[in-house]
């Protein structure tokens, strides 16, 4: 042994010190608070979204209206983008460098955003809705496009033209929706209007997820076996609409060359049988890559094809509200079926004259409806609001207004579409503003014949017809009949609750009798009668400051067991019986006798060929 033997301890202590130091450092890494394991998992997992098919929409007879078609988004791992594949992708997609730079920036931002949401998905949409040609070329070149992959999703295919305002359309999810609902990812397609929007949460289905291992270069290394990481996509449930496609198609051809709106309701249920606007747009334009461009075109189209008249258009109802006024008078005891008022070519009171067409005078209630006597309803309007039992005209009018509101007027009906207008029923306050606080019945007399501040939407008009058909109540009109798996939910119950107007059924007898006489000899719309059933109807001609009068018509049939209530508005078409009545009549005939040809081919031919719209 030499004298340096003790130096062994320097070695032993050095070895021990390093081992201890390292062990402590490693223990610090492994037992510390930094979530290294989560970081490791985030590194190696990628969540691939599995897109569900949206609900298939059927009509009330089971015909497929709206279905799905495959669509593809090009996604990118921004970190992995290189110059070679950038050039190639610009070539394939026809992008210029500015567009490319913008998309790249957006992808970076979105992929960062995803990471913050604790998602494993570090990729982002680079180009959504590839065209079939682009998709084909990209598939061939995918091995060269290392940073990119294609994610399948679904887009819409619409089988029927002419119902776009009911269906709505899809569009890319907005920034606000992304913020408010974590379900969505950039590039997702969501309902923007119509049923697609209203029932978005039901129709969209439930996205699935496939979690895959991927290595440092983002190459997939297999699916994670753990079940909790994988979830299949669940397609949206089948949705049956209450619409009858046969009616929609017939409406489309009858309304050719005309502007207006048609709404038909099944009175017993509130189900909307027909929902049609003219002009409208082809929903298949708002699909796929051309969506944005086509939407821009529709938006600036002077004909306003995107405008949903049936729920947003407001019209003075004209004579179509006369039966309602009669019902209110009867219920309040101010009018009896035998009450007669005379008419000398109109209603004259001081300086005011409301014109009327020539007819026998005086008339009882039923005839007043049949002939649509203005004088009768001006008198009735004044009788109601000036009735001594109310004390003064303001109180009297308030009673009338509350009745109108119980008929679903002045506020949205609650149909399953967003953006519905409530029309207008002037309140006492509104009349105060208009006429000063000391107004009298004579100053607002035009309300009695459906002119003035009173404005209704087509859906409200149709609902009026349904209320009369039901003798006093209605169900909230709705376009969706049922959604698989959603019966007896709050949604469902809302449409199965009857709303009563407070008018006793007995008062409907003389009014309906008058409406029946409208389609009989001496009525304003004899042509609307059907051979097989009794049609009850009321015409209307709404004065329009912008041009020719609007032609209005409400009806229901058959009289004793109403199956369909309908409102037709043809803008600038003049007298109600000229266009609106025949169109309604043909639609009711089709609905009540789906199996037979029309008995009024001449009328159908006339309507097909009438072109009112100035080109």
């Amino acid at each position: 042994m030499d004298q340096n033997s003790n130096r062994r301890w320097v070695y032993i202590l050095t070895f021990a010190a390093i081992l201890l130091l390292y062990a402590m450092r490693i223990a610090g890494l492994q037992l510390g608070t930094t979530p290294y394991e989560q970081m490791a998992i985030n590194n190696a997992l990628n969540k691939v979204t599995l897109y569900p098919g949206r609900s298939v929409l059927f009509d009330r007879n089971g015909r497929i209206l709206v279905r799905n078609t495959p669509a593809y988004d090009l996604k990118v791992f921004p970190k992995k983008m290189g110059s070679a594949d950038s050039v190639l992708i610009c070539q394939i997609l026809g992008l210029d460098s500015a567009d490319f730079a913008q998309r790249t920036l957006l992808a970076w931002i979105n992929s960062k955003k995803r990471q913050r949401n604790n998602s494993y998905d570090r990729s982002a949409v680079f180009f959504s809705n590839l065209s079939p040609e682009q998709y084909a070329i990209i598939r061939e070149n995918l091995y060269r496009l290392k940073a990119y992959y294609v994610e399948p999703k679904t887009d819409r295919l619409y089988n029927f033209n002419g119902s776009a305002h009911a269906f709505g359309y899809l569009g890319e999810v907005s920034e606000e929706m992304l913020e408010s609902d974590p379900y969505y990812q950039p590039g997702d397609l969501v309902g923007i209007t119509g049923i697609e929007k209203y029932y978005e949460n039901q129709i969209r289905g439930i996205k699935g997820v496939k979690t895959v291992w991927q290595d440092r270069t983002y190459v997939e290394q297999g699916t994670v076996k753990n079940e909790s990481f994988n979830k299949p996509a669940i397609a949206g449930p089948d949705v049956q609409l209450s619409l009858d496609m046969a009616l929609q198609l017939l409406a489309d051809s009858l309304m050719a060359g005309k502007r207006g709106s048609i709404v038909a309701i099944e009175p017993k249920t509130g189900e909307v049988l027909a929902f049609y606007n003219s002009p409208h747009y082809n929903p298949n334009l708002l699909v796929g890559q051309q969506r944005t461009e086509e939407f821009r075109k529709l938006l600036i189209d002077p004909k306003k094809p995107l405008y949903n008249r049936a729920v947003k258009g407001v019209y003075p109802p004209g004579s179509t509200v006369k039966p309602i006024l009669a019902l209110i008078g009867l219920q309040e005891g101010i009018l009896t079926p035998e009450t007669r008022h005379s008419c000398a070519g109109g209603y004259h009171m001081g300086s005011i004259t409301v014109g009327c067409h020539p007819h026998p005078s005086p008339l009882a209630l039923a005839q007043s409806i049949q002939i649509s006597c203005n004088a009768y309803y001006c008198q009735l309007f004044r009788d109601i609001i000036d009735a001594p039992k109310y004390g003064n005209v303001r109180e009297g009018y308030a009673i009338l207004e509350s009745y109108w509101r119980r008929f679903g007027l002045g506020s949205p009906t609650g149909i399953d579409l967003l953006g519905e207008s409530g029309g207008n029923i002037p309140s006492v306050a509104q009349l105060d503003r208009r006429h000063g606080e000391r107004w009298r019945s004579s100053m607002i007399i035009s309300l009695g014949i459906g002119q003035g501040e009173i404005l209704l939407t087509p859906i409200q008009l149709a609902n009026l017809a349904a209320i009369i058909a039901n003798r006093g109540y209605y169900y909230t009109p709705h376009l969706v009949k049922q959604i698989e798996g959603y019966s007896d939910t709050a949604w469902d119950r809302r449409f199965r609750t009857a709303h009563y107007t407070g008018i006793e059924p007995r008062h409907f007898v003389p009014v309906i009798q008058g409406m029946e006489m409208v389609t009989q000899v001496g009525g304003t719309a004899r042509g609307a009668a059907l051979d097989s059933v009794v049609v009850c109807a009321k015409t209307g001609t709404a004065q329009n400051p912008h041009g020719k009068d609007h032609s209005l018509f409400i009806a229901f049939a058959p009289k004793d067991d109403p199956q369909i209530a309908i409102a037709v508005i043809v803008e600038n078409a003049g007298f109600g019986a000229t266009y609106a009545a025949p169109i309604a009549s043909l639609l009711m005939e089709r609905y009540l006798h789906p199996e037979r040809d029309t008995k009024k081919p001449y009328m159908k031919e006339n309507m097909f060929n009438a072109r009112l719209e100035t080109p």
Binding site: N4, S5, R7, R8, V10, Y11, I12, T14, F15, A16, I18, L19, L21, Y22, A23, R25, I26, A27, L29, Q30, L31, G32, T34, Y36, E37, M39, A40, I41, N43, A44, L45, W213, Q214, D215, R216, T217, Q221, G222
Partner: protein, 420 residues
């Protein structure tokens, strides 16, 4: 007594067990790190299959040494050394470049790294030289020869641009301490390293060096004041101060001129003076994530995504330790540390019981080399040491290193077996 030589001891069982244990740990982790995600059990990747061949051949090598005549080592020591030097020169001209270093002879898919064998040859040569009758690590001549014996291969390897392997030769400095290298040289080395780190910090932070010089001078003045009666100590302190100041003033230049940018980056990364989320910093971060993800009991055999998915670089060679950390957790790390530490301690113990200087030098050389490799390699994966690409003995995949470390260990164990 002539009979004494013929007493056959056993090959030390503790060291042998540790060796087998480490090679086994190595293979398990190489198997896992190189396997694909959905790889079938017992099907071998190319890397793992190769490693099996290396292990088998290393076993044959060990057996050969165990039965070879111990005198052969003594006889061929210088010849082996000469051959190693020749090969390390030849590789400069004939070698192929791998990752910037020209340190490999390649034959098809197989490669030989002569620098690995230079370690063994240097250890043998030093062992022979210092074991020569009448030679001690004393006097200018002997010290110079001893130093040259390992500085020569170290220089050649530096020329190959393999800084990591060259750095390992400092292990011989450490070994020489046992043979009489003054302790203050080791302390000075630590002191100079410390000063260099201070300098790098100051430079990066843009702080004036005069603070450092002032503090050094102040400390020295205080020390001199309290020891002013001892003239020798005062002189020594002054000398240290002057050397430190000169060193501090010039090291910056060396740091910037001699080291390459990537080396400076790696150093500054460890000193946390730099952030680098994409390059080496990314690798280091991934390495730490891998080890940290193991937590207490590990993510499980074949479950380490960090290594398997390639987030950790060189996951079956230089960064193999990450697999141990990730898949076996702190428990696995401690088991590995225990076995590796046992081997190191055992080698010191065995060296001390040698009767010849030659055997002792061989033992301490082996222990020092294994230690330096461990300290650099593991330290690198956990961010304590700059990233330097050298293997973890017995664990990392690769033939040259396994054979070299096996040789190193078994040559000494054979000496120990035949000790007198």
């Amino acid at each position: 007594m002539p009979f004494k030589q013929s007493i056959e001891n056993r090959l030390d069982p503790i060291a042998l067990l540790a060796y087998i244990g480490l090679v086994l740990i190595g293979f398990i982790n190489i198997y896992s790190a190189s396997a694909g995600v959905d790889q079938e059990w017992l099907s071998l990747s190319t890397v793992a299959r190769k490693q099996l061949v290396f292990i088998a051949s290393a076993g044959l090598l060990a057996l050969f040494i165990a039965y070879a005549n111990v005198r052969l080592m003594d006889y061929f020591a210088y010849g082996f050394y000469g051959l190693a030097i020749a090969l390390n020169i030849a590789v400069l001209f004939l070698g192929k470049e791998v990752a910037g270093a020209k340190s490999w002879f390649g034959y098809g898919g197989f490669g030989i790294q002569p620098s690995e064998f230079a370690k063994v040859a240097t250890a043998l040569a030093l062992s022979k030289f210092l074991g020569t009758y009448g030679v001690r690590f004393k006097g200018w001549k002997n010290v110079t020869i001893a130093l040259l014996l390992f500085l020569l291969p170290m220089g050649l390897i530096l020329l190959q641009n393999d800084t990591g392997s060259a750095l390992v030769f400092t292990a011989f400095f450490f070994m020489l301490y046992r043979e009489g290298l003054p302790g203050f040289i080791l302390i000075s080395a630590v002191w100079l390293g410390f000063l260099a780190i201070i300098k790098i910090y100051l430079e990066s932070l843009g702080v004036s060096y005069w603070y450092e010089y002032g503090i050094l001078a102040g400390l020295a003045s205080l020390f001199i004041y309290f020891t002013r009666s001892n003239k020798n100590l005062v002189r020594l302190t002054l000398m240290i101060l002057v050397v430190s100041l000169v060193y501090s003033a010039t090291i910056g230049w060396f740091y910037n001129q001699i080291l390459q940018q990537y080396q400076r980056d790696r150093i500054e990364l460890v000193l946390q003076l730099k952030e680098d989320r994409l390059g080496v910093g990314f690798n280091l971060e991934q390495s730490k994530i891998a080890i940290g993800a193991g937590e207490f009991s590990g993510r499980g055999f074949m479950e380490g995504t960090q290594t398997k998915m390639g987030f950790v670089p060189e996951q079956h060679t230089d960064f193999i330790f990450c697999t141990i950390g990730e898949e076996w957790g702190l428990l696995g790390v401690l088991v590995f540390f225990f076995i590796y530490g046992s081997l190191l301690m055992r080698l010191v113990f065995l060296s001390e019981r040698q009767t010849t200087t030659a055997a002792r030098v061989m033992g301490y050389s082996a222990a020092s080399i294994f230690f330096v490799h461990f300290a650099i390699n593991v330290g690198m994966t956990i961010g304590i040491v700059p990233v330097i690409g050298i293997p973890l003995p017995f664990i990392s995949a690769g033939g040259s290193s396994l054979w070299a470390f096996t040789l190193l260990l078994f040559l000494f164990l054979r000496m120990d077996q035949k000790r007198m």
